[in-house]
């Protein structure tokens, strides 16, 4: 599969794409250089013509682009950008796209438990809200054009612990690179996605009983790789 990665040089791409490169033929794009010096094609997703041109000869798109709190750029990248991507998918007949975004439930459900398959409640912060508009735009395209569209939503992403962590809790709503790679593969290769459009909350830590990944397990077959909570145990006295 030839995978076009948009926003490949930000907080997620440099750690996620190495795990995908052994399975897919990647084209990395961004507006900034790659932190590890990998070759990157210059692409701003606000430019529809550039997005359409970049999508040519690819089978799937991975969109990692984000602007968080700018009152103008957040709309241009997180909302208009998804519209540009969606139009380009239609133009080239590409049927698979994976987007990432922020969790959209903590503002309302942080005092609850077993939070999984609930509707997004983005609120009015620029980051969450403009990403949410992008989700709605992509939903319309997915349904109308049969584009398998997945959104992965999480609060944090990073490496798994390498040694025991003492006197601290494990991070909420956070997914580790290994799990994100596995989930991304499942999403990019999914067949018969309900309504061609689904969003999934992702986390690698479920011991709290607060945020769950049952929907990703049910619809994608996702399983958390390693139970990382074991790194956070008290020492025996």
């Amino acid at each position: 599969m030839r995978l076009l990665v948009l926003g490949a040089c930000g907080n997620i791409g440099p750690s996620l794409t190495p795990g995908l490169s052994e399975f897919y033929e990647l084209t990395l794009t961004d507006t900034i250089p790659h932190p590890n010096g990998l070759p990157v094609e210059s692409l701003d997703i606000r430019d529809y013509d550039a997005v359409e041109q970049a999508c040519a000869d690819h089978d799937a798109i991975l969109n990692l682009c984000v602007v968080r709190d700018d009152p103008v750029l957040s709309f241009e990248v997180n909302t208009h950008g998804v519209d540009n991507i969606s139009r380009a998918l239609v133009r080239h007949g590409i049927k698979r796209v994976l987007h990432t975004g922020p969790q959209l439930v903590r503002q309302w459900f942080d005092h609850d438990f077993r939070v999984d398959d609930v509707p997004p409640m983005p609120g009015t912060g620029y980051y969450c809200f403009t990403k949410f508009l992008g989700m709605e735009i992509s939903r319309a395209y997915a349904r109308q054009h049969g584009i398998n569209t997945v959104w992965f939503l999480f609060n944090g992403v990073g490496p798994k612990p390498e040694k025991s962590q003492h006197d601290t809790d494990h991070p909420p709503f956070t997914v580790v690179w290994e799990d994100l790679v596995a989930a991304s593969r499942l999403a990019l290769e999914a067949e018969d996605l309900p309504d061609h459009y689904q969003y999934f909350n992702l986390t690698s830590y479920v011991e709290h009983g607060k945020y769950a990944v049952d929907k990703a397990r049910r619809l994608l077959g996702f399983e958390i790789g390693e139970r990382l909570e074991s790194y956070f145990r008290r020492t025996s006295t």
Partner: protein, 229 residues
């Protein structure tokens, strides 16, 4: 009540202004954009805002400009309204959100909207969601009126009339009824936010308007039934 009508220059805006003129103090705005800095001044001392959902004719009609107007423009308008202490907001959405449902389905406010991609109705839905999220987060009563297609019931026509048709005067009366909603002190955002489907009183209706009737909406203008499809 002091009411600001945003994007007031179109057919709907003019009808709303006429319909509200007798018992409200109106301020009409119809600039090409919903400008951020000027919004505070326009909204000063207003009790309510009516957003017609119709972009000004003078505005560039490119897809990007329209997307920006409906999303960022509505966001900035809502943010300014909340900042200025406006307690009532009416947004004119559209029944076109349900165009993809089979024709034999009765559509009510419980049905999930499925606006098509690259459509005006998708843009209007994004603006509706924008208003909804501000209502979730802030002490403001907001009402989405999903209006049918505006058709002058008095104009002679041989064309068929859509089963969502509504006379502009009835649309204005729905806005008047929506302005009476005031649940801004409710802690439960579900009370502050309301959606109502609004069209004429059609025989064998596709769109059910019972909720709007309960709001006080009483459509006065009918269309010849044989022409309704």
């Amino acid at each position: 009540m002091r009411v600001l009508i945003v994007s007031a220059g179109g057919e709907l805006g003019q009808a709303i202004a006429l319909g509200l003129d007798f018992d409200h103090q109106l301020r009409l705005a119809d600039g090409p954009e919903l400008p951020g800095e000027d919004l505070q001044a326009i909204l000063q001392d207003m009790d309510a805002v009516v957003h017609t959902g119709e972009p000004p004719a003078a505005m560039a009609q490119s897809p990007n400009a329209l997307l920006d107007w409906y999303t960022r423009g509505t966001y900035d308008l809502m943010a300014a309204a909340v900042a200025e202490g406006v307690r009532r907001f009416v947004y004119c959405s559209t029944l076109d959100l349900f165009g993809t449902y089979p024709s034999d389905v009765h559509i009510s406010e419980l049905h999930e909207p499925f606006p098509p991609a690259q459509s005006q109705s998708l843009l209007r839905y994004l603006a509706e969601l924008t208003v909804r999220e501000f209502t979730r987060d802030h002490a403001i009563t907001a009402t989405a009126l999903r209006l049918g297609t505006l058709v002058d019931a008095d104009a002679p026509t041989s064309a068929t009339v859509k089963n969502s048709a509504i006379d502009p005067r009835d649309a204005a009366s729905a806005v008047r009824a929506a302005l009476n909603r005031n649940d801004s002190d409710s802690l439960n955002w579900v009370r502050r936010w309301g959606i109502y489907h609004v069209c004429a009183d059609h025989p064998n209706p596709r769109f059910l308007i019972d909720r709007a009737r309960a709001l006080g909406f009483k459509p006065q203008h009918r269309f010849a039934s044989p022409k309704v499809v």
